[in-house]
């Protein structure tokens, strides 16, 4: 019950921002799901500033203050809004045709999968050691106001969202409750699937929503991760939503879509140490698209090309430096057991290790079964729809997907030191690619060429 109250508080807080910045949609479930992400991101970010920036200890007063301020502002603005405007209830989305048989089957399997994830995830204690040591442990450190170097290092690895969000629920509960960590991931998953389904539906693309939800929930490793307290899945979900809204913006040119894409890419920064690089990649794509549009419209001068090329160059330099120096970066915050050790120095050993790791990536994508046959489907569809991809705005989604693939290749094959193919944290990393490839596929299938300018 306390947990549900906490969820409502987060949703109300998030809804405040949606209202104030006018990014609401006409669908109530979609607004609630968006509000969950916004509220959760806001609470964790502000709490981390209180904690690290202002040195204010976490506690029930801090938590309540953080959520109360926007809710109070919302109350005032809403009262004024109500008197100034006649309230217009949200327009219900257009009634769609009855579902066809195959669509009913897909809905059936989506519901069954969600029931499995929720039941298993809510009832099963975490069995992953990484989860104890970092993911689920750091909120306890902050709850106890421990700020030593080791704690800072763990928070850096975990990110502020996974670290600070549970505090609100624990403070409402009066004491820490470890299973709230399970429930938080499950709530995020339900909000994620809701957005995947309703966001395209509201834009009039009925099939895209259904296919999105099905394609993501057909990834076997994603299903298992949904039941865990690992934060990889939260990072993936937030980034994937940025990707989805960017994709929708390319088709609709609606400002609300681009606002939401930017919002979700920014939220990505708050999760895990790798969230930063994912978020920057997404934001870079938005900037690149905007500059390209400017160039295409009129200003075809060298100056414009340079404006386009400079951020690209800076982005690539950043990627290289980040990739090469993540070990140093991690050591700076005292990551005692850094996995980013140097690769073997002898060239032949280096190449052999590289080949072996490249095979590991191939195995992960095409043989392991962790992602089903998604990458076979992806390859075939890119080949079949090559014309559609390269001659329409889908190219931007494809470029973003390709950059993520290159980053994963760099991380797994070139930088990552471990060469044991099957043990591989790699599968977790590749899951990000699997999820956005699913979204790309659905975007490809449901693309309406008439909208392309």
């Amino acid at each position: 019950m306390i947990f549900i109250i906490g969820v409502l508080v987060v949703i109300i807080t998030g809804y405040t921002f949606l209202f104030l910045f006018n990014v609401k949609s006409s669908s109530l479930p979609l607004n609630f799901a968006l509000a969950w992400f916004v509220g959760a991101g806001y609470f964790s970010f502000v709490n981390s500033i209180f904690y690290f920036g202002l040195g204010i200890n976490t506690g029930i007063i801090t938590s309540i203050t953080i959520v109360a301020i926007p809710i109070m502002i919302f109350g005032i603005v809403w009262a004024k809004y109500k008197t100034d405007n006649k309230y217009v209830p949200p327009v219900a989305s257009k009634k769609t045709n009855r579902f066809k048989i195959y669509e009913r089957i897909l809905i059936g399997i989506i519901i069954l999968t969600l029931i499995i994830i929720v039941c298993h995830g809510a009832s099963t204690p975490s069995n992953g050691d990484d989860s104890f040591r970092i993911r689920a442990y750091t909120p306890f450190l902050v709850y106890d106001n421990i700020t030593d170097e080791n704690a800072k290092s763990l928070i850096f690895q975990n990110g502020v969202w996974p670290t600070f969000l549970p505090l609100l629920f624990w403070h409402l509960n009066g004491q820490p409750e470890q299973f709230y960590l399970n429930y938080l991931n499950l709530t995020t998953l339900i909000a994620f699937i809701t957005i995947l389904y309703f966001a395209p539906l509201v834009s009039g693309n009925e099939k895209q929503g259904l296919y999105n939800a099905f394609a993501i929930l057909s990834i076997p490793l994603f299903i298992y991760h949904g039941t865990s307290t690992y934060m990889d899945i939260v990072l993936i979900m937030v980034f994937a939503l940025g990707y989805l809204f960017f994709s929708m913006y390319l088709k609709s040119n609606e400002m609300i879509d681009i606002k939401l894409a930017i919002l979700f890419f920014i939220l990505t920064f708050l999760i895990k140490d790798k969230g930063g690089i994912a978020g920057i990649t997404g934001i870079f794509m938005i900037i690149a698209y905007w500059l390209y549009g400017k160039y295409k419209r009129s200003e075809k001068s060298w100056k414009t090309i340079a404006t386009f090329a400079v951020p690209l160059a800076l982005f690539l330099v950043f990627l290289v430096l980040y990739s090469l120096n993540i070990d140093t970066l991690a050591q700076k915050v005292n990551v005692s057991k850094s996995i980013f050790l140097k690769n073997p120095k002898v060239p032949s050993e280096f190449i052999a290790a590289l080949q072996y790791k490249a095979y590991g990536l191939f195995h992960s994508l095409f043989l392991s079964g962790n992602f089903g046959i998604l990458f076979y489907v992806f390859m075939a569809n890119v080949f079949l729809y090559a014309r559609r991809i390269f001659l329409t705005k889908l190219i931007w989604e494809f470029i973003l997907t390709s950059i993520i693939f290159i980053q994963i290749f760099m991380y797994m094959v070139v930088i990552y030191v471990r060469v044991d193919m099957h043990q591989a944290i790699v599968h977790r990393v590749v899951m990000m690619l699997a999820v956005i490839c699913s979204l790309f596929l659905v975007s490809l299938w449901t693309y309406k060429p008439v909208e392309d300018g």
Partner: protein, 355 residues
Amino acid sequence: MRYLFLLIIIQWHCPYSSFATTINVPITKKIFYTNTQNKVKNRQIEFEIDKRAKIYVDLKHISEINIDYISGGFFRVSHLTAYRNKIKPDAHLLMGKSIEKGKGRLTFNYRQNFNWSIAGTPVIYIEGTGNFSIINMSVETIADEGQAIKESNSALFWRPEIIRLSTINFLTPIYWDYNKKIHWTSSLGMLYFASLLILYLYSKIYNVDIKRYVPYISILFLFIFSSQFIIRFIPAVNWKLYVPSNEKIRRYYLRPEFGQLTASAREITGEAETIAIAVENGDWFSPEAFCFNMLPIKCLFYQKDKDTLSGLGENVVAKRSDIDLIAYYNFDGGIPENFKKIFSLNKNVFIARKK
């Protein structure tokens, strides 16, 4: 086309198409050889399990064993196949079931072991401490090696997903034909490519737009893979949506003894007390999981020779003298003199408090 494909799957990997013969086996001491104490009484055999035991069933051509048992403890029971009494248990792929105290029935499908053949010796691997009695046993046997391979392929294809510590990194690999090492993903992927090729040829001959059908075919193939996974995953799912936190820990940890110990420690330990966990050498998982479950209570990893002990995340450090309780989980050393047992699940799993 799609129905034909489903028919092929059902025909090829039908889990009920076994040619095995079922035989009731009288319980005698000769059938079993093991590294643990045992005695036969009233046509039952009772094993005294001390932490873990391998029970070899000295029968050949066995594909499945069904046992009725009486358990005196909380055990994790797995089945393995040995050759010349040597076992190479791949911990990542071990099939395991948790059992509680009392009577029950277990089925061990040896065909689900990756190294199974009719020449192998079936082994029952039990982890836990206490008495375990087998009161009835029946086996399924297969004479023909070709049939055994076929049944093994089928059993491995439908092998239930077992949650392991490493499941977070990778799921159980599934093969369309394990004997020929053909992965399920690659065979289904190739079939997907073939269907697209057929569709392409069809579109060329009859001048239809292929792209109209590609999404449907793609979704169909994703659906086939996903459904097979869901069928394999369902046996591992804990279906109860609401269970009190301590009950979740007690019932749903991979090793039931560990769950029992941890849940009891949570009930016994006071908020201001310090607890330590003592485990056997090489057990890295239990101390971390235990101390995580004890949070926010101060919890340390017990070590015999060290005076200063640390806990989870290296943030918790304390002196040995600060410890109020010690939880023992298969630890090899004894209890310090100034401690006495206050809770005991069995001789290897208990909690002691400072006198």
